[in-house]
């Protein structure tokens, strides 16, 4: 094995030979400290697992307090509606003070008050009886969901009631069709996000750490003193981590598709093209951070701030960019992952849409060139 490598290397271009030697060195380092390989394989699995089971944006079994001030049969019927709903776990009380304490403690998410005048108002039929809901506004999401579910239970109850009383009214309901994700599984749109997160972790954080360590220990200077050219050095560093980034992307995709049943409607080539385009700025940023800081603690903090957190929060996979304030929207445009996530979502859920991919790949390549340019500049300055 060694002999053939030597035989090959003696014939190859010296630059290429040096590049291969550098990559070989990097590979040995990776194998010796397998934490980098571990993170590239284990992290995608943890993320998929958490997105599969831990993140559920639909509330079921929400604890709801119901205060029944009206002892009549209509009120009892409505309470039964709440108790039978799969969305709620109901706690009954006749005095609202009892439940208000639970609301403050976060033990119930909302309280529905059926007033003493409820049945009388219904029977009169002249105006709509009021139902008060007290909601825990400290969590606006859950508050909105609980309100919508309460609305649903009350609407159902009224329809049933009007059928019983013989009225023939029907409600106008808008029809919706959810393209690309008819089952509405949150997994399907969270997976592209987790692919982006693991590539940001491997591409930027890991690269920044590894190269910062070389600066910290002074081995980078030693490498620069050898006949290795700047381009060879950078390629020798980046190519192994590019490979690792693609590996973790593949792990993530394979498990998502075969274990969690997420659809994959595009082509593998498109997936690789988009991912590669993202890894260029990710790796460039990692290199830039390490050359500028030469310290693993600082490098990890900066990588966290400039790559990991923006990928989670500003890429549009969890939070809608359109809904953010204007200046944050501008900031989002500077996050490479913001140009990756829509393409990834498309390749998973829609199919190949090259007109969309081309623009995003071009933007990512531009980011890559800019980051690499500054990385090289920072490395030169360090040596001088």
């Amino acid at each position: 094995m060694m002999v053939t490598r030597r035989a090959w290397s003696s014939r190859a271009h010296p630059g290429l030979r040096r590049l291969v030697a550098l990559m070989h060195k990097e590979w040995i380092q990776m194998v010796r400290d397998p934490s980098s390989i571990l993170i590239a394989v284990v992290m995608p699995l943890i993320l998929l697992f958490l997105f599969g089971y831990g993140v559920n944006l639909d509330a079921t079994h929400t604890r709801l307090g119901v205060v029944v001030e009206d002892p009549g049969p209509e009120a009892r019927d409505l309470v039964a509606g709440f108790e039978l709903s799969p969305y709620f776990e109901v706690r009954l009380a006749t005095d609202r003070r009892e439940l208000e304490q639970l609301l403050t403690a976060g033990k119930v998410r909302g309280i529905v008050v059926i007033p003493a005048t409820f049945e009388a108002a219904l029977r009169k039929g002249s105006h709509r009886p009021d139902l008060q809901i007290l909601l825990d506004g400290s969590d606006p999401n859950t508050a909105a969901l609980v309100e919508a579910y309460v609305q649903g239970v009350v609407a159902n109850w009224s329809v049933l009631r009007s059928e019983q009383t013989g009225s023939t009214a029907t409600a106008a309901v808008a029809a919706d069709r959810l393209w690309f994700n008819p089952a509405r599984t949150s997994m399907s749109f969270l997976v592209p996000g987790s692919v982006a997160i693991v590539m940001a972790l491997v591409g930027t954080l890991l690269t920044a750490l590894v190269v910062a360590r070389e600066w910290e220990r002074g081995t980078m200077e030693a490498l620069l003193a050898t006949p290795v050219s700047g381009a060879e050095l950078i390629l020798g560093k980046l190519l192994p981590y590019y490979g690792l980034g693609l590996t973790s992307m593949a792990v993530c995709t394979l498990f998502a598709v075969f274990l969690f049943g997420v659809p994959f409607r595009g082509s593998v080539i498109a997936l690789y093209a988009i991912s590669s385009a993202f890894l260029v700025p990710a790796l460039g940023l990692g290199l830039l951070i390490s050359a500028a800081t030469r310290n693993q603690l600082i490098a990890s903090q900066l990588a966290l701030l400039s790559s990991f957190m923006p990928t989670v929060l500003l890429s549009g996979f969890l939070f809608e960019i359109d809904s953010m304030p204007k200046f944050i929207q501008l900031l989002c445009q500077l996050v490479p992952a913001r140009w990756l996530v829509p393409s990834l979502q498309t390749v998973f859920l829609v199919g190949d849409l090259w007109s969309l991919f081309a623009t995003h790949i071009a933007v990512l390549a531009l980011f890559g060139v800019v980051f690499l340019f500054f990385a090289v500049k920072a490395m030169r300055r360090q040596v001088a």
Binding site: T104, D130, I133, P342
Partner: protein, 370 residues
């Protein structure tokens, strides 16, 4: 004597982190930037989204409904198109999150008392936001139909819901996000700074020097525990100041309770950091290990999605997650003016977790040194 040894070790540890002006900045600036940016970015509200609409209706009602949609503040634009293919392209290219089709006989049906045809096509790549958008559109549609419908076509009378939101009457999303972010950023910093401190000494070889010094093992441990807790408290102070004075989040509860519980929370996460630290030989391993802990701990804390939505077996795992309790405390103290009793009920598990993580870190520490 022992007292002064410990004090000098703590001083040395603080100096290591705080002497370098760059690491001073790094310990303070990135967390603050995160707090400020993410307080505004992390919103699950849906606003300013774009729609396209294909109005095939021959009557006036369709046009009126389009105007009604254009008047809504949820939608930044409602662009009319004239071809069904354009609907598809707009959604595919993500120029619009939803596409609306109004049926040819919309006005006629409305006048005749039949439910008028109206379809909404949504981008399932963003299914969450899309469903929220749909509920807005459906509401506009239902209200419009109810108002314009012929007398024979009545909507069922339902009891009127009168919602009142406690603690956050205007449902300002930032109020919800910021106390959570304070807890999460404190967690990341606590774990990371601690995990790196021992690993760095190992990597540089100074850990051996520390061990041959007259310092006892428990002194070394205390010397490695106290500084990150102090730095954490300093950071928490900074976050509270920014949250209250810059981000204008109300602080209704007791500051003393907040600090008291922070102490236990920081002790528990520093214990985790120390545990990771004693397992890792290099800083790289320490940082990656910290990530392996922080990511699941954050997602299983109830920060983004309530714990009661998770499957039961996963809920029981979250019982050992310190962030889970501290989130209840920060949100409770900031927004609800939580009582001392309730804070204590959530601080007790934190204290237990802290005792567990710190002692097991100490055990592992001793174990690995022999």
């Amino acid at each position: 004597m022992r007292q002064t040894r410990l004090v000098s070790l703590v001083t040395k540890e603080l100096l290591v982190v705080l002497r370098d002006p760059r690491s001073r900045i790094v310990l303070v600036a990135p967390p603050l930037v995160q707090l400020l940016v993410f307080a505004f970015a992390a919103t699950l509200e849906v606003r300013n989204v774009h729609l396209v609409v294909l109005n095939r209706d021959e009557g006036a009602a369709g046009v009126e409904l389009v105007h009604r949609l254009q008047g809504s503040r949820t939608f930044a634009s409602v662009v009319p198109v004239h071809d069904p293919g354009d609907l598809r392209v707009a959604v595919d290219r993500q120029r619009a999150i939803a596409a609306i089709q109004i049926a040819p006989d919309f006005s006629a049906d409305l006048a005749a008392g039949r439910p008028p045809g109206f379809q909404v096509l949504l981008d399932g790549r963003r299914s969450n936001a899309a469903q929220i958008v749909f509920s807005y559109i459906a509401e506009v549609y239902a209200t419009f139909v109810a108002e314009r419908a012929a007398p024979s076509y009545r909507i069922t009378p339902t009891p009127r819901l009168v919602p009142r939101h406690w603690f956050n009457p205007n449902l300002i999303f930032r109020w919800f996000m910021v106390p959570g972010l304070v807890a999460i950023i404190a967690q990341i910093m606590g774990v990371l700074v601690t995990a790196l401190s021992v690993a760095r000494e190992r990597e540089l070889g100074t850990f051996d020097q520390l061990m041959v010094s007259p310092l006892r093992t428990h002194e070394i441990l205390l010397g490695k525990t106290i500084p990150p807790v102090l730095i954490g408290l300093l950071n928490v102070t900074l976050y509270i100041v920014v949250a209250v004075f810059v981000l204008r989040v109300p602080l209704r509860g007791s500051l003393v309770l907040l600090y008291g519980s922070s102490l236990f929370f920081l002790a528990s996460v520093v214990g985790v950091g120390l545990f990771i630290s004693s397992l890792s030989a290099t800083q790289q391993q320490a940082i990656l290990g910290a990530f392996l802990f922080v990511t699941p701990a954050t997602m299983l804390s109830g920060f983004a999605t309530p714990i009661e939505n998770m499957p039961a077996w996963l809920q029981s795992i979250t019982v050992v997650n310190p962030l889970r309790y501290f989130l209840v405390i920060t949100r409770g103290i900031f927004l609800k003016g939580m009582t001392a009793e309730a804070v204590a009920a959530n601080t007790l598990p934190l204290a237990l977790i802290a005792v567990f993580t710190l002692t097991s870190a100490a055990w592992l520490f001793r174990h690995r040194m022999e």
